[in-house]
Amino acid sequence: MSAPSAARVETALEKTWREAQQVWDVSVTLSTPRPTDKTDRAKGQADELAYIDLETRQVVVNLALLERMGATSSLTAVLAHELGHHVKYPHTLALAASLIVLEKRLIPGLQQSLTNLFFDLLVNEHVGRTRHRELCAVYRGFQKQLKPKEKMSPVFLFYLAVYEELWNLEPGALVPQDQLGPTEKSYPGFRNDARVFTQNFYAIAGIHKQFVYFCSRFIRYIEDPTQFVYLSPFGKDGLQPDSDDFDSVVRGLHSGDVDDALREAKQNGWLEEGGLKDEQDDDPLVTIDSITEHLPGKGGGDFKLALVSKHYKRLVDQHIIKPPPGSPTPEATLPSVLEEWEWGDSPKTIDWTGSVLARGPLAGVHPLRRDLLPDDPSPIEKDFPAVEIYLDTSGSMPNPQSQLNVMTLAAQILCASCLRKGGKVRGAIYSSGPVKTCDWIYDEERARRFFLHYVGGGTDYPFRLLRKWAEETRDVIRVIISDSDFLANVLNPTSSLKPLDTLQFAADRSRIVVAFLAADAPQSRKTLEPALRHARFRLAIVKSLDGFAGAAAELSDALFGR
């Protein structure tokens, strides 16, 4: 039999799409679903039965797989399922992100998120009111498709038992018959568990409360959270919150709902029954760490860095109450020279007066254009601050991506202050061993990301680099951020670099050098006394680590003006 033409497939999809919309009693403005194609292969979703891309809101369905499952008559239910993710569960990716964060809080180390199964339970309850037979066909077809090596996890068996209870089916209608006995033996009360779960779960008001209850019951079927993976026909059909979604949760979106849900769960004994414990760390960086822990490879690193960067930006902004970065771009008001207008140029650029004066009667045929240019202020009038920051990231301070590192925050505040004044920044991140440096940075986000680097060894101030940069560039503000270890570096008798001489040399060739230290003031003054005699060397002492950020803001005001 020949494959149906693309037009016929599209017509069939349009028809079933309308039926799917009727299931939810909505009319949506989404485009008609499309069959899987090579772009899905590139996204790694070619093997999915169906999914909705919640960024573009396009539903994609794998018709070939549906046919192999023997469930072609279930197309409406499959589309209605995907539509359900769009119209109600989760509807927004921020909600999905909030549940993922809650899940990490309750089940630390969980390898594969349960949120998709959770949303599927909610969606299928609605779709199944009218089309549960079609959904059953999909779940049965899915089991037939499994390879011999692929086993259904106890979680998925429990999930199927829930549908049997929900749709009033005989045990074994979805759970494989040969699994009924062994599962009941491994998990005494399995069937009743599914029954009680079904009868309680759908009656709970509030999606966060439902999710906590769901976790407290499903956790029983997860042997080891760190190894937990499951297969499902709708396994990856949505739910890819991005860094903005997670950031909104870190900032507190849905936190009230989460607190209410956990309070009620504790009152009802759900957490205790499930062996769950709610231990939230107040540091948002710990939350970010747990969100990103199981993300694969480099993508995970970038994702984490984006979230950490947003968090530090908020902390920086708490200390710098200033207008937005830089000054607004000057408006284009300065007329440029007349040029030939060509087809394809904007007609708005035609200078008719100039064209008539220059071309006479031919102005209409060969008009001339004149652009308006912004009137940039003269570079001489500008005073760009240029700052070099030497940031100590030895092991005496935490990794800024996992926990708040106040020295890193201080560097970020200085950076942001400088860049928002139209300046430029470069940095050296040191501990022991190689020093991480960057070229001049003009962009706040890039600078923020650079200063999130961490080494975490001993403390070995790079005097050689300070000398090199001082030789290369004059008229720079140089700030050393460290603790009492810096004093030990200065006094190091084995150093061949003569640290105090290097500091004085740097002061000679800088606008100012500031040693910004969390150290004992008298000891610091004593140690740095020869350098302090130089007019352009300053010592700024922070009494406690908590005061670093505030002191950095004050130092910024002093260096760059309010």
């Binding site: 959270p225 029954e273 926990q403």
Partner: protein, 189 residues
């Protein structure tokens, strides 16, 4: 008499969630249903025995209120009357049995939990000797058994011992995972 349960449930979804009837009014509504079905309803003393004198007095009053609400808001009333006309029941025996069968169900459960609501309706249909359209007597009994909240809870409790042991083991596992994550983060102030 086969009751159209799907229709009744649909009508109930569209109705107000709480019963607006006082205890006396609720008793009058149920009495009227019996009367229209050609059956003499319980006397005032009979209603008192069914509610005020019961051990679960508060619960019985809530349930009576919900029963009256469902009778008025849905087709349950007309179908109940038809069932009574077809096969009369003796309220003095049937009503106490009904209230005994629905003992654990609070008004809140009946309102908010679709399973408890169905159990409540099926118990009423069972009391009238009716059945549900599209279901055999065996299926009707099986579904009622499946929905039996008391039985489910009793069986569920039996497995709680095993669950508690599992929960302790799981709590240990989760604590280990938590510690591992904290250790991976390293430095703590």
């Amino acid at each position: 008499m086969a009751f159209d349960l799907a229709r009744i449930k649909q009508q109930l979804e569209a109705a107000a969630i709480a019963s607006p009837y006082t205890l006396e009014l609720a008793a009058a509504i149920v009495s009227d249903t019996f009367r229209l079905g050609g059956v003499v309803p319980p006397q005032l003393s009979g209603w008192k025995a069914l509610t005020k004198k019961r051990k679960e007095r508060q619960l019985a009053e809530e349930q009576l209120g919900m029963l009256a609400h469902v009778l008025v808001a849905t087709a349950l009333r007309e179908q109940s009357i038809a069932a009574l006309l077809e096969k009369p029941v003796e309220p003095a025996a049937a009503l106490p049995a009904f209230f005994d069968a629905v003992v654990p169900l609070t008004a809140e459960m009946i309102r908010s939990n679709t399973f408890r609501q169905e159990e409540f309706l099926r118990r009423w249909i069972e009391m009238l000797g009716g059945s549900v359209a599209g279901e055999s007597a065996k299926q009707f009994a099986a579904r009622l058994q499946q929905l039996d909240y008391r039985r489910t809870l009793a069986e569920f409790d039996k497995a709680e011992g095993a669950r508690k042991q599992e929960a302790a083991r799981r709590a240990k596992l989760l604590q280990e995972a938590r510690d591992k994550e904290a250790a991976a983060r390293g430095w703590r102030e």
